[in-house]
Point group: C2
């Protein structure tokens, strides 16, 4: 009998490593293939960026609490986030939909309203796609192009020892927002007369339902004349992203617990759920903030920015990836990000 | 109560028309958006082409007779076909997979083997993607880039009255091949001791299981110095593609029944199934041949090409889309292509 290895044994990143390990590129326009937030294609004066993300009902979203317009917005926004993570600007998207017969024309129109709203916010053109039926549920696949000047592209492989590690916004909110939404759904299922109580949690519910790609940060970095050396978007939790940067840049990290940006509502709700807020930051997902490294001389230009946080620094690879706790203990950070195969597989 | 319109009432193309009708493009790099085989993006010297296709288990393929390597090959090949249909050459693909826990690592490796084989055949680089779990079945979404010199791009909107209409290869085979595969599956399900009998049908089974994008034709047209004026790939049946060309170019067509290229095995098997072979050509799908128009002066350069067939000509829009039968009757061709919503929805 043929050998059968379960995908859950390898996880998403192990599977990707395995199936892409022998790939060699043939076109001289292909500058960077598998392994960054977007592929990098030489189109002459600039680099064209290309990325893709797939959202599947029952895995990535639950329409019982996700308004379908928000889902449309999110499907575009999370792709824009991949272009932002290359220090680029988005330009075009193509959208493929798989639709079961549960979905009406009106529902698809609402989904597209959200997509168009995001396209407008991020100055992206919806230029094509594919629409087909699905045996069950909704499937959304978006591919996006972007553009970046060649000397400005930010790769995962360019962190250097001594770089300052920066994170934007705040972290952990989308994950704890999801816990609230799931709890309220269970309450509703148990007693349909009970209406979901989200009033207490507007910020974290919004973090989960309507993430904003941080193109504002990309524009501000350009205005401040700061070139992020390496960058990645925080979609699978901080720990997972640090692991990617470490692996591709051959560096280790020291991250300071007291520098991690956590919103008060995120913190309080995590405590309410009896979850360590640091766990939400490290192993939650879907914050779609940016994690990047800068050279020390650029610190002065950013130090007063209200939404950029200096959370640690890069060190020798041998040092590993570490959290410096509030009481100065140094503990290794495990790369245990959000993995749809482990959770749902 | 909110109005509910079923997608089946509109069909795939009606739905696409509805949701994309108000789209305006904001980036000056976007030359052509929704409505052709690929979007056209200005990248300086050339146009970059961008297209996407989604394949869903239970809608587009059946793994009980589709070897998974072939499926991988097909998923790339049908995307290459969209680039060919713009008179371009493919360069990069990104691949998203949704995988239920039925699929092992070994199965995914076989799927990728087929994809890599196609990438090699068509000189395409696999540069990224997304891999996630799926609640049920396999979902494959591929997006592809290509490139074409600006004065060589072939659009659906450029057929002119008097142009000669050309089709490559032969038509209807993939559809009738699917009928054979479905029949043999039913025989096997009824009696598992019976093995599928495909020996009689190697060509048409291959047309369904391993379609080849006609990049050979694109290269040959360039060598013969023929610029196809308008082009589309034949993925939904000839009638549907003629309808698209007619709509976008404002022309009508006269197509000659006795000029339609039908392989003998396709013809014989259609007769065996009691299906009109012309119906297979017109309303079958998945042939992935090319349909294009040339100016009359280019006829001489192509007239001896063994795999290009001159099936008719373009006329005034008011004339409609017509089939000239073998006994010189003129009958309107209905645009009733393969529509996954009508079939499965």
């Amino acid at each position: 009998m043929d050998k059968r290895t379960e995908i859950t044994e390898l996880g998403e990143f192990g599977l990707i490593d395995k199936i892409t390990k022998n790939i060699t590129n043939k076109n001289n326009t292909t500058k960077i293939g598998v392994g960054d937030d977007a592929a990098v294609i030489d189109v002459g004066k600039d680099y064209l960026l290309l990325s893709t993300d797939m959202l599947i009902e029952g895995v990535h979203f639950d329409l019982s609490y996700m308004p379908i317009q928000h889902l449309g917005y999110k499907s575009i926004s999370i792709n824009v986030s991949d272009i932002a993570a290359m220090n680029g600007s988005p330009e075009q998207v193509v959208v493929s939909l798989g639709l079961s017969n549960r979905f009406s024309v009106e529902a698809v129109e609402k989904l597209y309203e959200g997509m168009k709203f995001a396209c407008n916010d991020f100055n992206v053109d919806l230029v094509g796609g594919d629409t087909t039926s699905s045996p069950a549920g909704l499937i959304i696949s978006v591919s996006i192009t972007g553009r970046v000047e060649k000397d400005k592209v930010a790769l995962r492989s360019k962190v250097e020892k001594g770089d300052i590690i920066c994170a934007t916004g705040d972290l952990g909110g989308a994950y704890i927002g999801l816990q609230v939404l799931e709890r309220e759904k269970q309450v509703f299922l148990a007693n349909p007369d009970m209406q979901p109580d989200l009033k207490k949690y507007p910020y974290i519910a919004g973090r989960q339902l309507k993430p904003e790609a941080r193109m504002d940060i990309i524009h501000e970095l350009a205005e401040l004349n700061v070139r992020p050396k390496a960058m990645i978007d925080i979609s699978d939790g901080l720990a997972s992203e640090l692991y990617h940067l470490s692996k591709q840049s051959d560096v280790g990290f020291f991250i300071y617990e007291d520098k991690l940006p956590i919103d008060k509502q995120t913190y309080d709700t995590a405590v309410e759920f009896n979850i360590d807020p640091i766990t939400c930051v490290m192993n939650g997902g879907e914050d779609y903030e940016l994690l990047f490294s800068i050279s020390q001389e650029d610190f002065e230009k950013l130090k007063n920015h209200p939404d950029i946080h200096f959370i640690g620094y890069a060190a020798e690879k041998e040092k590993g990836i570490n959290l410096v706790t509030k009481n100065q203990n140094v503990v290794p950070i495990k790369a245990q990000g959000w993995d749809h195969f482990k959770v749902e597989g």
